[in-house]
Symmetry: C2
Subunit: 129 residues, 2 copies
C-alpha cells in the first residue's frame, strides 16, 4: 500500500505536498525509464516540479530525479527504500542527494520541509482510511 | 556537433565506451523525460547500462542518471555541460555524483576510466572526420 501510494498517480496526488495545495498532474509514469511533471497549486500560487524515474522495483525501491522549476539548475537524486517490518508496517527511507551545500540550502530554503512533513502526515491519513 | 554526438543514438554508438567494444542499443531517447539502455559488447563479454534523461537542453546541458548493471544499486547523477568557446571549439564538462565514497570507488574499480578516456579519444576522431 505504501509503495502503491507512491506509484499510482491518483493516490500520489492525494497526499504529496503541503496541505491546502492541490496537485495537478501533467504526466506521471512511475516505472523504470518513466518520468513525471506536476504542479502544486494553491490560491494564486503554482509551483512546478519534474523528474525521471531511474528505477522502480515493486515494493522495494524507487530511484528518481527531482527539480523544482523555481531552481531549474538544482537537481536532486532521490532514493526511496520500502521495508516490510512486520505487523502491517512499512519503514520508508527517503534520501535526496545534491551536488553542493548551496544546492542543499536552496532546496531547504524553498519551503520543501513543510511540504515533506505535511505530505507524510497526509500519507499516514490516507493509509488509515 | 558535440551535443549531437551525445543525443543521436547512431552517432553516440560510434564513440561511447572503450575501443574494441561494440555498442548495442536497446533503446535511447535522449530528451527530457526519456531513457536509455545499451550494452557494450566485446568477445565473450557484455556489460549493460541504463538510465534516464532528467533534462536535455539543446547545445547546453544534459542531466542523466547512470547505472552499470554489474553494480545494480550504484546510481550516478551525471551532468554534462556544453560551452561554445569560439573557433569551432566546445568545452565539455562532465561530472558524476554518487552518494558515497564506496560507490565512487566501485565505479572507478569497474574499469570505466578506460572506457571514458578511450571514448573521448574516439569522439575527437569522429568530430575530425
Amino acid at each position: 500500500m505504501v509503495f502503491r501510494a507512491h506509484t499510482d498517480p491518483e493516490l500520489f496526488a492525494q497526499w504529496n505536498g503541503p496541505r491546502r495545495h492541490r496537485m495537478e498532474t501533467d504526466h506521471f509514469d512511475c516505472s523504470t525509464g518513466g518520468s513525471y511533471r506536476y504542479r502544486l497549486v494553491s490560491e494564486g500560487v503554482e509551483a512546478s516540479f519534474f523528474g525521471s524515474f531511474h528505477e522502480v522495483r515493486p515494493s522495494e525501491l524507487i530511484v528518481q530525479t527531482f527539480t523544482f522549476v523555481g531552481e531549474p539548475d538544482g537537481v536532486a537524486l532521490e532514493r526511496i527504500v520500502f521495508e516490510d517490518i512486520g505487523d502491517g508496517r512499512t519503514r520508508l527511507t527517503a534520501t535526496s542527494l545534491v551536488d553542493s551545500f548551496e544546492g542543499r540550502d536552496a532546496f531547504v530554503a524553498s519551503g520543501m520541509e513543510v511540504g515533506v512533513r505535511e505530505g507524510y502526515e497526509r500519507l499516514d491519513e490516507l493509509l488509515a482510511r
